[in-house]
Symmetry: C3
Subunit: 257 residues, 3 copies
Amino acid sequence: MPIITLTSDWGLKDHYLAAVKGTIYSLFPDAQIVDISHQIPQFDIAQGAYIIRNSYSFFPKGSIHIIGINTVASIETPHIAVEYNDHFFIGADNGIFSLIFDSEPDKIIEIEIPQDSDYFTFSTKDVFVKAACMLAKGTNIIELGSPLTELNDKLRLKPIIDENSIKGMVIYVDVYENVITNISENQFKRVQKGRDFVIEVRKNLIKKLSKSYTDVREGDILALFGSNGLMQIALNSDKAKSLLGLDYYESIIITFK
Amino acid sequence: MPIITLTSDWGLKDHYLAAVKGTIYSLFPDAQIVDISHQIPQFDIAQGAYIIRNSYSFFPKGSIHIIGINTVASIETPHIAVEYNDHFFIGADNGIFSLIFDSEPDKIIEIEIPQDSDYFTFSTKDVFVKAACMLAKGTNIIELGSPLTELNDKLRLKPIIDENSIKGMVIYVDVYENVITNISENQFKRVQKGRDFVIEVRKNLIKKLSKSYTDVREGDILALFGSNGLMQIALNSDKAKSLLGLDYYESIIITFK
Amino acid sequence: MPIITLTSDWGLKDHYLAAVKGTIYSLFPDAQIVDISHQIPQFDIAQGAYIIRNSYSFFPKGSIHIIGINTVASIETPHIAVEYNDHFFIGADNGIFSLIFDSEPDKIIEIEIPQDSDYFTFSTKDVFVKAACMLAKGTNIIELGSPLTELNDKLRLKPIIDENSIKGMVIYVDVYENVITNISENQFKRVQKGRDFVIEVRKNLIKKLSKSYTDVREGDILALFGSNGLMQIALNSDKAKSLLGLDYYESIIITFK
């Protein structure tokens, strides 16, 4: 039975999440629901995309991921269902999909499901849940509506890469205050070609990559590629964000010798 | 298999929630447990009632809703199980039930279940969970104890309605800082009879109802009836609570011409 | 099917928890996962131990408890699987186990599971989840690695007991700001032998034990043994921590006459 995951900016206090879960169980009593995160800052599709990118692929193939962030439908931001990497994603095409995927999805379908109510709509509950339960019960994604040819492509928060340097930025700060950049190990290796390098973060210079937080002395700065393949800047046993004064969108510059 | 939902003011850090879930699974290994909310402000039955009111009915008929807020039993606030609208509710009759239901419940039973322990009791775990698992396994609600004839009726936070006006108040502020009032669409329509009106919120005057947040310009104030049937005051793409200086119990006055 | 519980200091915003759950469902689609708490303050094994101690035993025998706090493996803190009181526990032996258990566990196994990746490891996902799923599928714990003879024993936060006094301390503050001490009812009774006593908390003197918060007047201080068997200091209907100025590690002295 496919898993249905939920990601939103609703938080955990309000009734929204429970209303959505109740609706899923009413439509599909055998549903297996897993929360990805409901603590996305309101309307922040960049952070939502980061969290979904780094978790969805661990779920079994065929899982259905509902995205409850900026869900108001408009001509520019239609409700869509997407098939990508053997997973399904349902949400409003507000740009978040282009931040989650590395390449074109296999299918993009504009959802056309009749509404029950005249009331102001709660899109996740009234549209996405229905689409998700149809997929979970075996409906082919192409039956959910009309195919679209491309996603709404938000400027991706990608690093600027040339022959001897990579200029990236901070795209996420985790609960430990480790600072995650948009520079991937693949990008790094492609430019490095075995050369020495300097990573510049504010006034700090880092000249080697660590394999683990404990490769440097307690409180010292380090850079490593995390299990998500992205460079992170951290302090051994301490909080990089506060102590280094780093925050979202701070520049990280790598220069190769 | 019926769903057991949990609502409380325990938060998510302490061991209370896990102790309750572990106890449910021990008594009833096939239980399907869903959290409604554990972020109710401590002892706040009004907010707890609002959240349960707006979520319980989306769950399948026969679901069992445990309410872990102000659970100390006394002669005035007995532990009860209630059947209402084909759902079951279990908690202390501290007034929260009268705020959840719109009409008299079908059955009210004072729970009489022997305790295991001399210790200070954790009522939700030691009483409500047992009652819930008995219901989940098919015990008739009337076997849980003795019937009561009425609920402990707290002053309901109801609007004051006359021929040409409705005076309501803010009863909830959600994660987006939308401000929800206690004025329902039914009440509004009954008094309006097609007439023009003015909604007065602090010094703001609103003269029409919106269907969606985007019916007004970004940052502008609007009133709409949400999917829960209650009037809410919001700003398109902004935070009504902070920017309008609204909070719980603020007055909302509607005058009909 | 055994339950797998999760406890960590990851919080609920980041992708870590979802990545772990997705991995469990991928390895073991029938898994039944329950969150104990993810709000442990970062790296705080004492609070993590308190929460696990007070919740694990309510789960069915055979449950598997994954502990995602301070999980970096080293020679001093190996990854281990432990059998204790018919439950399984998996984590790094950083001292947290010695704080959870009251006596020697039945089995301690150093986990030896091959890694998939060269990347910096996310131990909970890459090691603990595999071990947990093996146990859940019926692998004997002794097949997970090599037996160890003892746990890494952190200084336990135990009270100092003599013939006429017990000197304990605050080890936890719950969501209601009740203050929990490390003094158990067994220890208390063993020293008391029916005598009168005075409990001294800052400048407050308490001369009797209550059975319930409502045994004293509203706002008054009280001491009682909670359902976890530990003495707690509370105010009837108010917040002991803030109002009494108590916090972690504050002394509690009981003198017997």
